[in-house]
């Protein structure tokens, strides 16, 4: 594979997006263009990128260490030179592959999901723009170029959350996402700046950074590490910047599947892995990250237990699962974290798409307590959702088991028992709330059955493919205990830190414990919800249902205060003090003039008297001057 093709991985979706956007505008302004055209163009892009990605994958597999393509100097000021560079190493190609693959699936799914929508072309324009940005993010060879993709995906997220922009809530959610991400980006930017200032002169590609990062003083590295992680917090919805993700579910379901579950939110994990050379030097920050991840996982899981909106449940589960990933990368087990990214992409995309299918089928009903008994009526969906639920609950042999278990194992290995405990507990909670949702949706009694909307084939095919993926993708990382070779670890050997390994027996015991935790969760859910009676008028409420009132708290503590300050600044300080001072000075001068104007009294004697005073003072002056 030629190096320059790396650029095309990004360019194809980008160009496709631009063409789609222009044709969409053409379509609504001038002449209608058929959806087929959009579909064709939209699907072509991620698939082509995927094919290119596969090409690079084999290239790397056959011994090429990395592909590098730097077409031009992006920015060169003084001796800071940043090239527009694309780096195809094992990590990025790994990311490219699963992004384009999942992306293609969700494109196909969306073609069905959105087919009635009048913003069809626009949707795919945004979608491909997102894919392009995401690919730029992972393929960039420099943190700054990565930042372009980083913000690009944030923008697309904003655009897609507010896809139905006439509704205020959607736009508000989009804004929330963007601003929260911006808070993270602020941290990210500060991190980049520190890095830039300390090592930028020696080059700012990852390679150069890795080589020279040693010259950065340790305390600065800590700042850099934390700042960059703040960026990851924003993008990957970790405490405390997670607040946007549940609201982001306002977007169309494929968006939630692609962006807010499978790909974009994992950018933070990717970023930490990409900067592993920094985090390797500052293990304390790594532990901090792991703790943040653990608490996010637990916290989100707790909230998810009481949610009623199907997509909100999935959103919180996403936060929770992202927490697991951060546990892994925080502890230096980058490849384990990425393994979970990989498997999570499958089952979470599957969950969302399944949920989307349910929502479509039920005429945009999202409350799980208004569903029920769908098992027989949507058998395919039932099956794939079962697979996905088992996967997320960590039941072997589904994909989630391998990756999640590995993370718990790593936590245990690093002797972070608290994290391990939290992780384990969260695993139980996870299986509980997922099966709560599952049972309420598909089982139960006394539900009201409504007419179902038919689900199109283009929605079903990706479901099946992903279900297969969710089942078997775990086997690429089959633990050595089971005689497998963890291919992910092998592939990402640069990113897997060797650490003390527990004995096989202990490992199996630990696996057993986590599976047991999962099963306990399922059991509790079964007891409580399998025979859920829809007649009972249950209203979820309480502090957990209300997400610990965090949104209200933020609104009260930050947003309202900022608005008050804003009003204060513009009304009191600007208009009241500064402008008033200026105006007072000028009107004061005019008023002084009016007072002085009284001297023009048209009184001859007064004038003469005034002259006399002048004459007299002249004389006095001369008397003194002449001595």
């Amino acid at each position: 594979m030629s190096n320059y093709l790396l650029a095309w991985i990004v360019l194809i979706p980008f160009v496709s997006s631009v063409i789609l956007g222009i044709s969409y505008l053409y379509s609504i302004k001038v002449k209608k263009i058929s959806n087929k055209f959009f579909t064709f163009l939209a699907l072509l892009a991620p698939m082509s990128s995927f094919v290119l990605g596969v090409g690079f994958f084999f290239g790397l597999k056959n011994g090429v260490s990395e592909y590098l393509y730097e077409p031009y100097t992006w920015l060169g000021v003084d001796n800071y030179i940043i090239n527009m560079g694309f780096l195809g190493d094992k990590l990025s190609i790994f990311m490219v592959l699963f992004i384009t693959f999942i992306g293609s699936m969700i494109h196909i799914y969306a073609a069905g999901y959105m087919k009635e929508d009048e913003g069809y072309g626009k949707f795919f324009a945004y979608f491909n723009l997102f894919v392009a940005s995401m690919l730029l993010l992972v393929l960039a060879n420099s943190p700054l170029i990565m930042f372009i993709g980083w913000e690009g995906v944030g923008l697309c997220s904003y655009l897609l959350i507010g896809f139905y922009f006439s509704e205020p809530l959607n736009v508000v959610a989009g804004n929330k996402a963007f601003i929260a991400n911006r808070v993270g980006d602020f941290g990210f930017l500060v991190g980049i700046l520190f890095l830039f200032v300390y090592v930028g002169k020696l080059g700012f590609s990852y390679g150069a950074l890795e080589e020279y990062v040693g010259i950065v003083p340790n305390h600065i590295l800590v700042i850099i590490g934390v700042s960059l992680f703040i960026g990851a917090m924003g993008k990957s919805a970790q405490i405390p910047l997670y607040v946007w993700l549940p609201d982001a579910m306002a977007g169309p379901t494929p968006v939630s599947a692609l962006i807010h579950a499978a790909t974009m939110v994992t950018a933070g994990v990717y970023m930490v892995a990409r900067f592993h050379f920094i985090y390797d030097l500052i293990p304390s920050v790594g532990v901090f990250i792991a703790y943040i991840g653990a608490f996010s996982a637990l916290y989100a899981a707790i909230i998810a237990m009481r949610q009623t909106d199907i997509k909100k449940i999935l959103a919180y589960s996403t936060i929770s699962q992202l927490g697991y990933m951060f546990i892994a990368v925080g502890l230096g087990a980058y490849s384990s974290g990425l393994f979970h990214v990989f498997t999570h992409a499958f089952f979470k995309a599957l969950l969302f798409m399944g949920a989307g299918a349910i929502i479509i089928a039920l005429h945009h009903e999202q409350n799980i307590f208004k569903m029920g008994g769908l098992r027989k009526r949507l058998p395919l969906i039932y099956i794939v959702m079962l697979v996905a639920n088992l996967a997320i609950s960590g039941i072997p042999p589904f994909a989630g088991f391998f990756s999640k278990d590995e993370i718990l194992l790593k936590a245990y290995e690093h002797q972070e028992y608290l994290i391990y405990g939290i992780g384990l507990f969260t695993a139980a909670l996870t299986s509980y709330y997922m099966f709560r949702f599952f049972f309420v949706t598909f089982e139960g009694k006394n539900y009201i059955s409504k007419n179902l909307e038919p689900i199109s084939a283009s929605m079903k095919i990706p479901l099946v493919i992903l279900a297969i993926g969710a089942t078997f993708s775990g086997f690429v990382g089959l633990p050595e205990v089971f005689g497998g070779t963890n291919m992910i670890h092998q592939w990402l050997s640069n990113w897997s830190v060797d650490s003390t390994h527990v004995e096989n027996f202990k490992e199996i015991v630990l696996m057993g414990i986590s599976v047991a935790a999962g099963l306990i969760g399922i059991a509790v859910a079964y007891v409580k919800f399998f025979k859920y009676d829809f007649n009972q008028d249950i209203k979820e409420s309480g502090i957990i249902y209300n997400k610990f009132y965090i949104d209200e708290l933020i609104d009260f503590l930050i947003i309202r205060r900022v608005r008050q300050i804003s009003v204060f600044v513009s009304v009191v300080v600007d208009d009241g003090i500064i402008d008033k001072t200026v105006m007072l000075l000028s009107s004061g001068f005019i008023n002084l003039g009016r007072r002085v104007g009284r001297m023009q009294s048209a009184n001859t004697r007064a004038y003469a008297f005034f002259m006399l005073i002048g004459l007299s003072s002249f004389s006095l002056y001369l008397i003194f001057k002449l001595g």
Partner: protein, 494 residues
């Protein structure tokens, strides 16, 4: 005698303005000819850009005696820094014309626009301080006319306010210029107001220099405007017509920055370095102050005024950062912000043209009626908030980097720029453009062909500058290096 290209660039609009005013032709013909004039000027300046050599000295010099008794010369020249702004001006003005096309104004409007162009390009290109002052004041008159005649609201008051405010500033500058000239005479025995001559003065005490420094700074600070000289801005922007606010925000404010770099920096290098930290802090303070104030504004133009002030404060911080990054970033942000803000004001102008003047709460749902306008609007906002991939990001990054190089803390504070603008811009976008409300917006029309051409040109440049900034930047660098190394003597990356 020899008349150079720069003279044509400066005076062609002036001559055309007079011809158009005197000839008894219709408004439409006037407008078309005026537009053609700006296009010609654009082509002329493009030829300058392409023939520009990569050096740090003044190029395309023109030098003729004017008032020889006082050594005042008609002296023009362009270097890397002014070339960027020249290109900016000559590119933006035709775009502005495309948007102003449909405004049913009189001939005087178009003549004033041309006069304004002469004023700004003249001020930009003159190297003699008196000549500079000459243009600097002259460009105020067309603004005065445009806002006063075609403005809205309390336009007369705000016109007088801007006039008096800016003239106050420039008069301070005049005293400083004269003082410099006299000092030069005292030292060398001949009169001169040439920049290249005045920098050679050595006999001034630090106190004198500091006072003169502030004499200049006040003039430029009012024009920019910096805190606390900004209160004219909000009223003027909200009351002036599209053309006026477009020129004011995207071009004239930038000339304030330009003035600091062109004149204050070489004339008072010591003071420049000495007071740089204060101005950096002032800039960063302004960035946040104006940003916060913008949040709750009801009038879009007023909000943009605050937004402008916020960004211009950042630019000011950048040029005082005493290293090449901050200065390059500032130069780049001048261009980026001019395009984005100019574009925004033009778009708001079309909204205003269709719907009349409304506050943010009086709008809403425009996106459905005018998707093209919305797309353009969004792009400009993205540039303003510094989204990577647009030119806004590159410049903000460089400025923040420059400040960071100076002092980590101020760098971190200035990095909040990514938050500040985003918060109010997106909120405004949500309320005014996207979300559907009960307001009657049936008169809203989407962009017409000319506007599409104009805004498309801007959009392409914005994206191109975001994706390949180096191509736009490398011609400035020698100039800025020259400033930093030879004049300020602080080195490129202190």
């Amino acid at each position: 005698m020899h008349i150079g290209l720069l003279t044509f660039i400066i005076f062609l609009p002036l001559v055309m303005a007079f011809i158009l005013m005197v000839l008894p032709i219709s408004m439409k013909l006037t407008r078309n000819i005026a537009f053609l004039t700006t296009i010609v000027v654009f082509l002329l300046s493009l030829s300058i850009f392409l023939r520009f050599r990569l050096t740090d000295y003044m190029q395309f010099r023109e030098f003729h005696p004017w008032i020889s008794t006082y050594g005042i010369y008609y002296s023009l020249g362009v270097d890397g820094f002014s070339m960027i702004i020249l290109m900016l001006i000559t590119t933006l003005i035709p775009v502005g014309y495309l948007f102003l096309w449909k405004t049913r104004k009189s001939k005087g409007y178009w003549a004033s626009m041309l006069l304004m162009q002469t004023g700004v390009t003249g001020a930009l290109l003159s190297l003699d301080l008196i000549l500079f002052y000459f243009f600097w004041e002259s460009m105020l008159l067309p603004v005065f006319m445009i806002i006063g005649i075609y403005g809205s609201g309390n336009r007369i008051f705000s016109t007088l306010k801007i006039t008096i405010y800016t003239i106050m500033g420039s008069l301070f500058m005049l005293v400083s210029i004269l003082y410099l000239g006299v000092q030069f005479y005292n030292e060398f025995g001949v009169w001169s107001f040439q920049l290249s001559d005045l920098v050679q003065i050595t006999i001034m005490s630090p106190t004198q220099q500091t006072l003169l420094f502030f004499g200049f700074i006040i003039a430029f600070a009012i024009k920019i405007p910096l805190f606390p000289f900004h209160t004219w801005l909000m009223q003027t922007y909200s009351n002036s017509p599209t053309g006026g606010v477009f020129i004011l925000s995207s071009i004239m404010a930038k000339l304030g920055i330009y003035g600091i770099v062109r004149f204050v920096l070489p004339l008072f290098p010591h003071q420049y370095v000495e007071f740089a930290p204060y101005f950096m802090w002032l800039g960063v303070f302004g960035l946040i102050y104006f940003g916060v104030a913008a949040l709750m504004q009801q009038n879009i133009k007023r909000m943009f005024a605050y937004s402008s002030a916020s960004h211009l404060s950042l630019i000011t911080a950048g040029i005082f950062s005493l290293n090449i990054y901050g200065m390059t970033g500032a130069a780049f942000l001048i261009a980026a912000h001019a395009m984005a803000t100019g574009g925004l004001f033009l778009l708001v102008g079309t909204i205003e043209h269709d719907l009349g003047i409304r506050s943010i709460s009086g709008l809403g749902g425009i996106a459905k009626k005018a998707p093209l306008l919305t797309v353009a609007f969004a792009l400009m906002i993205l540039s303003i908030v510094g989204l990577p991939g647009t030119n806004g990001f590159v410049s903000e990054f460089l400025i923040v980097l420059g400040l960071f190089k100076y002092n980590n803390f101020i760098g971190i504070v200035s990095a909040t720029t990514v938050l500040v603008a985003a918060s109010f811009m997106f909120w405004m976008f949500q309320r005014a453009i996207l979300v559907k409300t009960d307001n009657n917006i049936s008169k809203m029309k989407d962009l017409d062909k000319k506007e599409i051409i104009g805004i498309f040109g801007l959009a392409v440049v914005i994206i191109a500058m975001g994706l390949y900034p180096h191509w736009f930047l490398y011609k400035i660098e020698p100039t800025l290096q020259h400033y930093l190394v030879d004049i300020l003597k602080v080195g490129v990356s202190s």
